[in-house]
């Protein structure tokens, strides 16, 4: 039996809104598990059901072998990190971190050492006596993290903890979170709508859409082997082509509804192509230089296609309207049926 199991979880808010619709998954000890999906897909609802702040309409949750359904939230021993930090403004940094230990009647000396240890882990040792209002957003979220970890919970839940921080800090702190989670070996469920963050931080990702699970897998599986058109287009960028494009791609299209190929799998034709390559003539519509890479938007008989060029030469010019030839390998083309489910076999 897995460490945390969620079985057939459904949640219906008043009226017909189905925030969760038959969600099942399992998380292992030490695992960093991420819920990824667009906003409104039910991530927060799922997390709050695990924490006990929301009751499921149907389904069950168990943690470490015990059913959670009848356990009130304050007895679940689940640490939580909030999007708006939820740091207590009337308590000092150290008092914030000690707050959960007080409820557990941990002796004062042990509290002091554990608080100091937790504050050092999140690099706030020097701030212990300050009030949170004097700290930056990133520091406040570190307090939130230390406060949740110091009680040594059975499970750590984080609901978009980085979404209120600026880009640079977000990347630093997400690496820290990941390192801390691995070093104390705790099971963590992390919620985000940022696919790059999910890929960077997770052992496994669960992609959700409209209250349902689309796919669960490692970052590699989610990115390179998406099971549905939703996952394919939500994680990373994807060129989606209609069924009619088949003739131009030289493909068989009996059951296929849509084709998809990643921009980085397309190259500009420069002769030496692999044997199973497909060639497509087109015209430049727009050229976007981004430094590390460049995007060429091309109008082709199969539809609009974006090509990603790695490490583009600064001198490269692409005038709108000029003719180009695109090339990609048949094995990199994904095909999906009319329900958006992946059809087996690459390139069909």
């Amino acid at each position: 039996m897995s460490y945390l199991t969620v079985k057939d979880a459904s949640k219906q808010f008043g009226g017909s809104v189905r925030a969760l619709d038959g969600v099942s998954f399992a998380v292992e000890r030490n695992e960093f598990f991420t819920l990824l999906g667009p906003s409104g897909c039910g991530k927060t609802t799922l997390l709050r059901s695990i924490a006990g702040f929301a009751d499921l309409t149907a389904g069950s949750i168990s943690l470490a072998g015990a059913a959670l359904d009848a356990v009130p939230s304050h007895k679940r021993d689940i640490g939580m990190v909030f999007q708006d930090y939820a740091v207590f403004p009337h308590l000092t940094v150290a008092e914030n971190v000690a707050f959960g230990l007080k409820a557990r009647k941990v002796p004062a000396t042990e509290t002091a050492t554990r608080v100091a240890e937790a504050l050092n882990t999140v690099r706030l040792g020097a701030m212990a006596a300050r009030l949170p209002a004097a700290l930056s957003g990133g520091q406040q979220q570190r307090i939130g993290l230390a406060r949740a970890m110091v009680i040594r919970p059975k499970l750590l839940l984080m609901d978009e903890p980085l979404s209120n921080l600026d880009a640079k800090l977000r990347i630093d702190l997400r690496d820290e979170i990941r390192d801390i989670q691995k070093s104390i070996g705790i099971a963590a469920i992390y919620v985000t709508h940022d696919q790059e963050e999910a890929l960077a931080i997770s052992d496994r990702i669960c992609v959700m859409n409209a209250g349902r699970i689309e796919q669960i897998g490692t970052p590699q599986e989610i990115y390179a082997d998406p099971r549905t058109i939703f996952v394919a287009s939500f994680v990373g960028t994807m060129n989606i082509l209609p069924q009619e494009a088949a003739s131009h791609l030289g493909l068989e299209s009996s059951r296929v509804h849509q084709w998809a190929i990643r921009p980085e799998h397309i190259q500009l034709d420069q002769g030496n192509l692999a044997p199973d390559s497909v060639r497509l003539a087109g015209r430049v519509e727009k050229y976007t230089y981004l430094g590390r890479e460049a995007h060429v938007m091309a109008q082709t008989p199969a539809g609009k296609i974006v090509v990603q060029l790695a490490d583009p030469a600064p001198s490269l010019r692409m005038e709108p309207g000029s003719a180009i030839s695109l090339a990609f390998r048949r094995q990199d083309i994904l095909s999906f049926d009319s329900k958006g489910v992946r059809l087996e076999g690459r390139g069909n």
Partner: protein, 545 residues
């Protein structure tokens, strides 16, 4: 467990509203449509329409309402513009003076204007000795002057807040599009502060209509609905409760009409300022600078003048009601020896009221803020009714409802406490609800996830966070409670007279020394309470509205 607790609070809140609002209002309505025999009649309303005296009072009420509105808008917006956009020296003092004008009881204003500009008024006599004749201040113009200088802070505080929050980029954008400064003000700034102006104006209008002390003291025959209702009720011979209740209903309808009219007019105009690019205050020089200072200090000093007059006159030597040259503490001595029970009444009633308001208002505030439901929205809406009820009406309604068993409360201290309680309850509910809304629910959830039960999480986290706001709200309620005149005047008996009631009586008796000393005591108590409130919640004048 927790659910049933909040259900209890909800039931309790409705019981309070039924007992202190629905029943009194129902009694007023009933009494206005019943004849002597107790059968249904519209004769009172017919009489109201037919009698020239009442028609005049109705018209007069509209005149002083809109007059007070116009004067307050003029003074308030002029001051708001200067304070928000121009560097004024000592602007902190100016806002203190505005607060002083706001918290001094309105009839002190009337009294001080009489002291200076009445028939034998100090300034008027001096001017006459120089050969300059001005008419005594009594009548319509007196009322309008008092109202304008008393109620302008409503407009000033709301409008200056709005002006200070207009994103400067908006005005710069207008400038870059080629609008002249005048066009800019008319097309950009004015529409943006219009909601605040109309909200402040509404407060001035409603208070002008409801005010009883000022027209009574300074009107000299200029009767309005509030004074007519009181006269009808209190006439020694032929007290006419059913006609008084009829006028009360008219007054309530009038106030409600203006509240809804203002809501309707500003229904689309809700702007949320963003604080990224705040307007800067301009430093003026030369004549414009002097003019701006004269305007600001002129309004502020005249507005606060009644408080100073009261303080000065309270230490003049007196014997009986007559002033003598020189200074002394005779008036305070008289309070100490003869009126200590009145001071004590005021303090006891106010503390009792505040205790009730704080506990019950906070509970209902939590209910309204945290437990969204149709029932609670309805509760919130019903709580708006006491907000538009003039004090005189509350007093008459309580008499109509509690004069006979099973609830024969008239003449008790309880009825005065309850009447102030119900009038102030809406403010308290709103302020505690808004304090609570500022505490993110995830605070409490964080505590729960750390192992605290929901009730302990509430006590450990939410209560400490909202406590300063609640105490501050209590202090402001104390100010209202201790200054309340009109409902107490209807409800008091000899043993339950309060300071405002005694001041009113003293002024009527020409005992100005006692009135001044009692007023000064009131002002000191009010200022202390406001000082504590501002210390606790940060200085926010708009909390006083």
């Amino acid at each position: 467990m927790r659910v049933s607790f909040w259900t209890l609070v909800s039931i309790f809140a409705w019981l309070i509203l039924i007992a202190l609002l629905v029943v009194p209002l129902g009694s007023v309505l009933l009494s206005s449509v019943q004849d002597q025999a107790g059968s249904f009649t519209l004769a009172n309303y017919a009489r109201f329409i037919e009698t020239p005296r009442f028609r005049t009072a109705f018209l007069n009420t509209l005149i002083i309402g809109f007059g007070g509105l116009a004067g307050s808008l003029l003074l308030g917006s002029a001051m708001a513009f200067c304070m928000a956009r121009i560097e004024i020296r000592g602007s902190r003092i100016v806002s203190l003076l505005a607060i002083l004008a706001l918290v001094s009881p309105p009839f002190i204003g009337a009294y001080s204007w009489i002291v200076l500009f009445g028939s034998g008024g100090l300034v008027r006599q001096t001017l006459m000795s120089w050969g300059i004749f001005i008419p005594p201040i009594f009548g319509l113009w007196g009322i309008l002057i008092v109202f304008s200088f008393k109620f302008y802070p409503y407009v000033y505080l709301l409008a200056s807040g709005a002006l200070a929050n207009i994103n400067r980029s908006l005005e710069e954008a207008a400038e870059s599009l080629g609008l002249t400064p005048f066009q800019r003000v008319m097309k950009i700034s004015f529409p943006l502060v219009l909601p605040a102006l109309s909200a402040g104006g509404l407060l001035a209008l409603i208070h002008s209509i409801a005010d009883f002390g000022t027209p009574r003291l300074i009107g000299r025959g200029f009767n309005v609905l509030a004074t007519e209702a009181y006269t009808l009720y209190s006439a020694e011979v032929g007290s006419n409760l059913s006609m008084a209740t009829t006028i009360s209903i008219v007054l309530i309808l009038l106030s409600m009409f203006f509240v809804f009219a203002q809501r309707y007019m500003s229904r689309r105009n809700v702007y949320h300022g963003n604080l990224i690019n705040k307007p800067v205050k301009k430093k003026l020089t030369g004549f414009p600078n002097i003019a701006a200072h004269v305007v600001v200090y002129g309004i502020a000093l005249i507005g606060a003048m009644p408080a100073f007059i009261a303080a000065i006159y309270s230490v003049r030597r007196t014997s009986g009601p007559v002033f003598h040259p020189g200074f002394g503490l005779d008036s305070y001595r008289r309070i100490l020896y003869n009126l200590a029970d009145v001071v004590q009444n005021s303090l006891t009633f106010s503390f009792a009221t505040v205790a009730l308001i704080v506990t019950i208002g906070t509970l209902i505030g939590c209910l309204v803020a945290r437990k969204m439901s149709v029932n609670n929205s309805l509760l919130d809406a019903t709580l708006m009714v006491p907000y538009v009820m003039p004090g005189i009406v509350v007093g008459i309604a309580f008499v109509a409802a509690f004069n006979s068993p099973p609830l024969a409360l008239t003449g008790t201290a309880a009825v005065i406490i309850l009447s102030i309680f119900i009038r102030r309850l809406p403010y308290s509910v709103r302020s505690s609800a808004s304090a609570l809304r500022q505490v993110s629910p995830s605070m409490e959830e964080a505590a729960i996830s750390l192992g605290y039960s929901p009730s302990r999480a509430f006590m450990k986290v939410t209560v400490p966070l909202i406590l300063p706001g609640i105490i501050a709200g209590g202090m402001l309620s104390f100010v209202t409670a201790i200054n309340e005149l009109s409902s107490s005047l209807v409800l008091y008996v000899g043993s339950t007279a309060t300071m405002p009631v005694r001041i009113y009586i003293a002024i009527n008796d020409g005992d100005y020394g006692t009135a001044a000393a009692l007023s000064t005591v009131l002002l000191v108590l009010s200022s202390t309470a406001i000082y504590i409130a501002f210390r606790l919640m940060g200085r926010d004048e708009r909390a006083l509205l």
